[in-house]
Symmetry: C2
Subunit: 170 residues, 2 copies
């Protein structure tokens, strides 16, 4: 080993003493995602499944290609996700009569009920848990800030890239 050693005392290292907004957002965002994951696990659902279910409910009738593009994932990955929801009888693949290569995805009645009666309340409770510590006015204010940031970053309203390989401590 070459290069001497320093730092008998704590060193700041160029980064601000207290974490900035970007770091806090990443930290809290990861925490929120982990909490949500734990909550939906009690319904035997993964976050990815929950997200797809919500997307199909919000914009039914789309092809798998369109959905995969919207989520920024390869179509091959979507297949297994769709399979898992179809196995539970929550969504349904319907052939497009005009072009039999396409499938169009729709919620089943069961899926609609699950989304509205099971997943919805869990998402609401999750949101409340994360916002604990902020009063109503502050939550509105925070939402405005976050929406502005999201718009500035070009993020699509209902979709987030929980797919990139990050993993980032401290």
């Amino acid at each position: 080993m070459m290069g001497g050693v320093s730092a008998k005392r704590p060193i700041d290292g160029g980064s601000p003493r207290r974490p900035g907004n970007a770091f806090l957002l990443a930290q809290i965002g990861a925490h929120a995602a982990a909490c949500f994951s734990q909550r939906v696990a009690e319904l035997d659902v993964t976050p990815a499944q929950a997200g797809l279910l919500r997307l199909v409910g919000r914009e039914p009738g789309q092809s798998q290609q369109a959905i995969a593009a919207k989520l920024g994932i390869p179509p091959s990955r979507l297949v297994l996700l769709v399979d898992s929801l179809e196995d539970r009888d929550w969504i349904e693949r319907r052939r497009n009569p005009h072009d039999r290569r396409h499938y169009a995805l729709y919620l089943t009645d069961l899926g609609t009920r699950f989304l509205g009666q099971q997943l919805g309340p869990v998402a609401t409770a999750h949101n409340d848990e994360i916002c604990a510590g902020l009063d109503e006015a502050e939550r509105v204010q925070l939402q405005e800030f976050l929406e502005r940031i999201a718009a500035h970053q070009g993020l699509v309203p209902g979709v987030h890239p929980g797919y990139r390989h990050s993993s980032e401590p401290t």
Copy 2:
């Protein structure tokens, strides 16, 4: 397949029409982490390496066990991370003379310089990029909200759990 089909029209599905704060935090957080990952990649560094480097700079002299516990990762994973930083001559393992089982981690001079002159500016630029769209007063206000949330959620100031298996679309 049993269970009829519904949803000829878009369906809200119990979740709020516009994403709530928790969803926005997760979405923006993942985006911020991805941006940071891209930025530090230009320095040939992973987010995990950057985080460890900052942690060692902030609290030098800790054992690997202590750091692993703080980051919430298994010690075996930390070994490779420490190896990669030691290979670059940025940090150093020093034997504890009183208990030769322990190592204590310190920055080298080179690591101190890299942290201050390379990584620091990148982190600052990253923070500015994420906060684009908010003026100075709003950034301060946002930071206050985020710090309050982090405290309420019991998050340790410098450490975030970018380790759980989430992956969550929509």
